[in-house]
Subunit: 356 residues, 5 copies
């Protein structure tokens, strides 16, 4: 994941509403997918030409225009013109480090949120910004890259699963938000599994690897970052739900409340993860301290037993002419006895102190 | 306890209201218990056939249908149909990692909460999700597994203890919630006893076992998890109580307020536990540091006393031809005196420094 | 103090309003004290027979019935019946691990709070639950054990000190609450003195005793527990004061506001204590680390100076036939010079590194 | 500063409104200063006799009575009687561990706050309680000791500086509060300078003195205590400002808002200080750990190099008859070569491990 | 950055509205820049004479007066007089340690905020206080030093970029605030890069440099300080936006909401930075502990292997006459075998304990 965005500075000093894309430069075409549906019919179209989707605007059926790629600023501009979007909205769509928010412009509602997708092959979590513009009979969604996250929604429309075909554009927008939030759980589960495996290691291995520390730190950073990205969503959905806007119907509000509950659950899970990681860091540190304590005890026992003995041996290694003990017959065995009993006493002492 | 749920991902991409059971697959039958009562009569029935309980719906007496097992999705579906429950409610009943919440659907109220039961034999805390649907003359409760936690309520109905037979379905629902919350205290007491025994060990044993650390960490995780599961209950009961729903009578609100107080007390106790555990971790860490300090002192004293003495002995173990001291008569006893007084001086120094 | 209550489980599964006393079993009689007063007259009575106090109920004068002991459940039951108290109130009076709260039942107000009394002889803090029922012309107070904490209030009534005889039952209730809160300050001062003495030791003694750690931990637990018990009192008094109940007169509200300020002051003091104790724990830990650092320096200096010297002495203790130095005349004094200058150099080095 | 007040217990059990001074006993006279002013005239008086100031009460000009000393309870009592103050107000004036608060008694407003003055000569911060009673045409201020903190306000009245002579009693009260709050900044700057000097030491000296720890701890305690004393002032000034009291004029509210901003700034600065001190404690602890790490490395290097060498020398110091090496001609120089190359290898190893 | 202001004390005791500049004394002239514009025309002027800008006041076009330098108090005073500003506003303009705030004086709005500019050449962040007075047809901005931060706004006016020329003074004020807030992002990015580089070092280098600690501490202090300075801006912009003032038009409120979002984003980023730095400090500390653990293991292994061996060598270095082993033929090779196998056993033991 990219944690620290450093593209916002491009914007500094420009008048509000200036359109600058802050992501990496790319040259592929922008893929525009249009689905137009009513209860009875569905019509699909994929195009590179943004003007192709304008005719749908004046039809009573619900039109969903999905833009995969923000690097062609002129496309965003044309959409802005045709659908009469406020310049600040266009600026926000392009500013990919935008904080999740929702704003009501009477004729349309602009919502921006963060999408997390976990890529199992590369064991990587990707983050992308999704902007959704909700009009009375259209929804325009903007993604940074092509992705298949919205395919289930498309299938539901195509094959008339659930209520989606009977509902208005607000329900379509809800379906998109719900899909994004559902994907949070996959990322959460991935993190949860990693937390569990670290915890397993910590509880089994009294001398944990230094890499464990890096893993805990990395997970903490991920959790921190996810929380920061998801936290504002509470407000976003609350605002949509509380909205007196004529664009959000009462039947959809119940579903939005459901998404809201999921967001709360996500945040609470992240908070629990965070506290667990903090607790695991303490556990790790204590394990190391425990380990060091044990190492020190071994050193101290060895040193305490043998250093005095070595001193005694040193004494009788001295070359003084007048050392009466050297010439006694029983000196050597007596010395051995003294040394053995001294070390036995030492061990008994350490035993009593529970160092052994 | 299972801390990290990983079943939610099954749901991703499905239209809202899709019925998927996320728990483990099981093949036993689902046990359905029905008690129908009015002030004067009680009628009981145990069945596997869900249709058997439908006739009770139209009687004026209060009917309590208890479903033990969620793994047969068609049973949930039939109940949903017959009692006219919203698809999202059915989805939530099956989603066993649901956050506690309550929702008012005019004709019925849906409440979901977490049940903790402590199993003394296996020294284990089980967590289960309980869903309660409150209608005007019925209550449907859903549990994951068979359990005897609601038996006291059944007995109160059977033997007409307390007011329960004179009251409506709202009082029955209160009784169920109250029973669940009462069981929290048993789990709390169990944790409290473990905390006390750890604290006892810490205060008596200056050199605590490494396992103590794991125990503290485990308790902290339990407390964290319980708190996360119980915290939303405040809102749940508050919502029920504030409710202008015609289903909750004024006489029951006083009782709900009592449960609310118990929930607050539970949460405050958990918070105190958490702070005590944090404080105990500090105590543990300090004990280890204290211990290491003592070990180091022993090592330093021994090394500081004997290393210089050994050096002196080494000097007179050298084989130089011209070492006048070697041939003096009093060298050896004088050296002993020097060494003894040096070590006495050392010990006095350590005494003064309070290392001994 | 008892921190972890484990009596609540007795209650589990009983219908609400069941009367079970959770404290220790006792067989003494329950002491019932009655004071009936108006502006002009006082009448006192001590009895074991609860029926004796019933006649006072119908007199216009203010009657204060004080019950010392909750272990005779039938007494509580009779009072409940005669004064028409709600079953939940009676249950709460007996549940001695009740959270402080107040509830308005139109004809009377029920308030429960925690009383802390410091026993200087045994250096112990006792905790007791006090329940107060405020009626229009009576106050009933329930204590767990006999105690003299309310004696000053009795004296004020007897000797007509202050306004108490001119006021109604609400002012009497205020006086009781005020007395309980005043006693908090005595406990706080006791804890404050202990904190100060620990801080004194920490600032004077660079190598603090391991017991200090236990003391800090114990004080932290006390503070935590007191805070938990006093915190809900804010709400209690606020509720009494905000109350539109006809039982609380405007003149008394000013006095209740004063108690409220005292409670806030108590909580803020406890918070400060807590932060001071945390800071003292850090200080303690740092002191130990500092100490260990110093111990390590001594060890390192001694080892660094003498181990190389011992090695040199060891070299010339070898018995090789062909070691020319052994036969030189000045070898021995030269070696001494080398060894002395090496150790001087070492000491200079350690001096420079500020290890000495 | 005195952090832990232990005088409140004197009060316990007394009826509310009892007048007990909790500070130290003193015998000097109480100094009473009166300034009476209108736009055109000023009249000053210093007296020991409290009755002297009563005539001013009935004049339309603004009268400021300043009482320096609370130890003569009868003076407070007489003022209370003459100015018709509530008994609880008089009790609060004497209770010098009162929490800052303000109360509106229709005819007058009672405000109590904490005054901190930094005494440069003795490098000490003094704390004092200041009570202010604001009437329609008078202000009475109570201090514990004589002080010159209010002299600038007196000068402004005497020499007609600023607007003070044109304004009413509320502006005078504002001026007093403003002066007290301004003095907080002097104390803050003093603490700030100490924090900076500790930070300087920590960043320059890799092996900080143990005293630094005490200093950080002491500063933290000061900051904690100041914060606790200043925090309630937000509410005090907010209450004054929000007040619908006829005693506070609209023109003064703008000035009170200014003081409010200063109080917020003080609290935020204290919060920043607190976080900086916590961070500095971490830095200190890490420095010690770093240092110990370095000490251990030196010990380990010396021991690892010389202990094996000493062992080798010990081998050839043995007196076995049959040790062929002892009689070889090149044994001694070969051994030297082995030992030198072994130690060189060791140093290279430590170099690679970055221990050197 | 200057973290601890110590200039506020100059003010203490002065009547409110006294004009004292608290920054460093400077003697250069104050640069006054005036731009007067309407939709059709722009007029610019640079002067040292404050009176030159007064004539613009009465023109219907929007006049922006920018004052670079606060050290000439008389200039501020003249502006205050001519534009009829409240004395407290003038005092606040000069008090450069003012907390960000906004105040509505009906005829004008006074806003003060902190400006951070990152100077790449000197790798330094400068902080400056910016005051903005918004009138119906004028904006006066006050900076401490000359700077080019507002040049893009000037260019937008000159070259009629964006809407600025069509809008009123409120939009100009918004543009200035927006520019200040945009510059926060540059400082944030700089800090973010430093955090990333520290994190890189920590994850690559298992034995981090002591300087890293200083860097983390310094970054934490910076983040703390920035947060403290930016936090009040939320309220500032909220107040402007909620304002019923006739000076802020509805069209501008949408833009202010955008700035508000940026401020929130800044604060959330700072909070994330803070938590990351805390986590990095833990990582650093754990690395050091890990390292010390390793060092200790090396020491212990060497000492445990060689100290006993040295003792054995010492034994046979003793000079007793009666030591039979000395005269056996195979003593020496047998001893070697014993010693080699003992050390092999030791190494196997350490291997098993995972110390190697």
């Amino acid at each position: 994941m990219r944690y620290i965005s450093r593209k916002k500075s491009k914007d500094v000093g420009l008048p509000p509403g200036s359109l600058v894309y802050q992501g990496e430069k790319r040259s592929e075409d922008v893929k525009i997918t249009v689905i137009d549906y009513s209860e009875k019919s569905v019509q699909e179209m994929v195009t590179k030409n943004v003007e192709d989707c304008f005719p749908f605007k004046d039809q009573p059926s619900v039109t969903w225009i999905n833009i995969d790629g923000l690097h062609k600023v002129d496309i965003i501009e044309k959409i802005g013109e045709h659908f009469d979007l406020h310049p600040l909205v266009l600026e926000d769509i392009l500013n990919i480090s935008q904080r999740p928010k929702t704003e009501d412009f009477e004729n349309y509602i602009y919502t921006v949120l963060k999408m997390f997708t976990y890529n199992k092959q590369e064991n990587e979590t990707n983050i992308e910004q999704v902007s959704i513009v909700i009009g009375s009979n259209f929804v325009i969604s903007f993604q940074e890259k092509e992705g298949d996250i919205f395919d289930p929604v498309r299938d539901r429309i195509r094959f008339n699963k659930g209520h989606i075909r009977k509902m208005k554009s607000d329900y379509l927008a809800y379906s998109l938000i719900d899909t994004v939030v559902d994907n949070y759980f996959i990322v959460l589960e991935e993190i949860g599994e990693q937390i569990e495996s670290v915890e397993d290691e910590l509880s089994k291995n009294p001398d944990p690897e230094p890499e464990t520390l890096q893993t805990i730190h990395g997970l903490k950073r991920d959790v921190l970052f996810l929380r920061k990205s998801i936290w504002p969503l509470r407000e976003v959905i609350n605002t949509l739900n509380r909205n007196e806007s004529r664009l959000i119907y009462k039947t959809t509000q119940l579903f939005l409340k459901d998404v809201y509950d999921h967001v709360i659950q996500t945040i609470e899970t992240l908070d629990t993860y965070r506290e667990m990681l903090t607790s695991m860091l303490d556990l790790y540190l204590s394990s190391i301290n425990n380990r060091m304590n044990e190492v020190m005890k071994v050193l101290t026992i060895i040193a305490t037993v043998f250093i005095p003995l070595t001193f005694i041996a040193g004494i009788y290694g001295m070359n003084f002419e007048y050392m009466p003990e050297l010439y006694w017959k029983w000196s050597y065995p007596i010395l051995w006895m003294i040394m053995v009993s001294a070390s036995l006493f030492m061990f008994a002492y350490f035993k009593k102190k529970k160092w052994l």
